[in-house]
């Protein structure tokens, strides 16, 4: 089996996780910028984090033979403070030329507030200006439907944004159709408690098709499973899906999206 982990917060994971992922056939890991679990106190904290994502973490992954890429932003969970967000966003362009930066992400909304929306628009502006791919985080639980709709409105209203260069992550049964119908890519996040189980992710593939869709573990410092993608591949096999289809969903599809930036290169 070969697969791409298109969304993993590896700075929060151990070397054992890297080893397990390498053994399971992980061909690349992409790490979106994320909330640390606590609020960083200044833009300097983000500068250090962006250095960690662009310099240190690729070296750690390389020890296990896995290419590591990243996305940069200030996470929507820290977007209520727009002054801090503006400072952080102004740091991003100097990192965009780093060899493993894929684009802007994971941006989006968390509680669907006006300030979060404003910061989302600032990020979209940076992405459009620098012709970057975009990875979008959609809100959790009761906030997801409304947030997804608000995010789609922002993206659709900006004529510079090409939907095929944007992935909207953490879709579930009530948001996937909205995302695919608007021409965007959809990411399904396999979480043990919230978001989506392997069985439901496979249901969505069967109902909504396997084009413009990927699966990820979004493993981070919370309850999450770094091997969620290969485990779901195994469940696809149990469900009678062919090796070709499994390879398409867990390898070819993310490859197709990510190769839209020349930065994404497999070993």
């Amino acid at each position: 089996m070969r697969y791409i982990e298109p969304h993993g917060h590896m700075v929060s994971r151990t070397t054992d996780d890297y080893q397990d992922m390498a053994l399971a056939g992980c061909a690349a890991i992409c790490e979106p910028a994320f909330w640390a679990g606590f609020d960083r106190s200044s833009a300097d904290g983000f500068y250090d984090y962006f250095c960690q994502l662009t310099e240190h973490e690729p070296k750690r992954a390389a020890k296990f033979g896995i290419p590591h890429f990243c996305w940069l932003c200030i996470n929507p969970k820290e977007s209520e403070d727009t002054k801090l967000a503006e400072e952080v966003i102004s740091l991003i362009p100097q990192f965009l030329d780093k060899p493993t930066v894929l684009g802007i992400g994971e941006i989006g909304l968390n509680k669907n507030s006006r300030n979060e929306l404003k910061v989302l628009e600032l990020h979209v502006e940076v992405a459009a200006k620098h012709n970057q791919l975009i990875l979008v985080h959609t809100p959790h639980l009761e906030d997801k439907l409304k947030g997804t709709k608000l995010i789609l409105d922002v993206l659709k209203n900006d004529k510079r944004i090409q939907p095929e260069r944007v992935i909207i992550d953490h879709v579930e049964e009530h948001t996937i159709q909205l995302v695919l119908d608007a021409g965007f890519w959809a990411g399904m996040t396999l979480y043990p408690e919230s978001k989506c189980t392997p069985a439901r992710a496979i249901d969505m593939l069967e109902v909504y098709g396997n084009e413009r869709i990927w699966m990820n573990s979004a493993c981070d410092w919370g309850m999450s499973v770094p091997l969620a993608v290969p485990r779901t591949a195994l469940e696809m096999k149990k469900r009678g899906h062919t090796a070709e289809l499994i390879d398409k969903v867990i390898y070819q599809n993310p490859l197709q999206f990510l190769q839209q930036t020349p930065r994404f290169k497999l070993l």
Binding site: N112, N115, L117, L141, D143, L145, E172, R239
Partner: protein, 88 residues
């Protein structure tokens, strides 16, 4: 897969989850005090299971969702609760 094969693969898991749901509701009702909008939302969502629609998962998710469309003035915190207080 045939319907029989799907049952073979998932019935035991679904049965266990259903018993967990039943035990959860018993546990809540055994405990002292009042429940809140989460339990009302839970009971509303349960109704979706018996309606016979082919998209029950979507309908359950919709029933737990914030139905409004305007951004809120200020984020009250970072977390989500899992249900929307329709009466607020």
């Amino acid at each position: 897969m045939t319907r029989q094969q799907i049952l073979d693969l998932y019935f035991m898991d679904a049965r266990a989850r259903l018993i967990d749901l039943a035990a959860f509701m018993d546990r809540v009702e055994r405990a002292d005090g009042e429940d809140d909008f989460r339990m009302s939302a839970f009971r509303e969502a349960l109704k979706e299971l018996e309606k016979g629609n082919p998209d029950r998962a979507k309908r359950v998710l919709l029933s737990f969702s914030d139905p409004s469309s305007e951004p809120i003035e200020r984020a009250p915190g970072k977390g989500a609760i899992g249900a929307y207080p329709h009466t607020k």
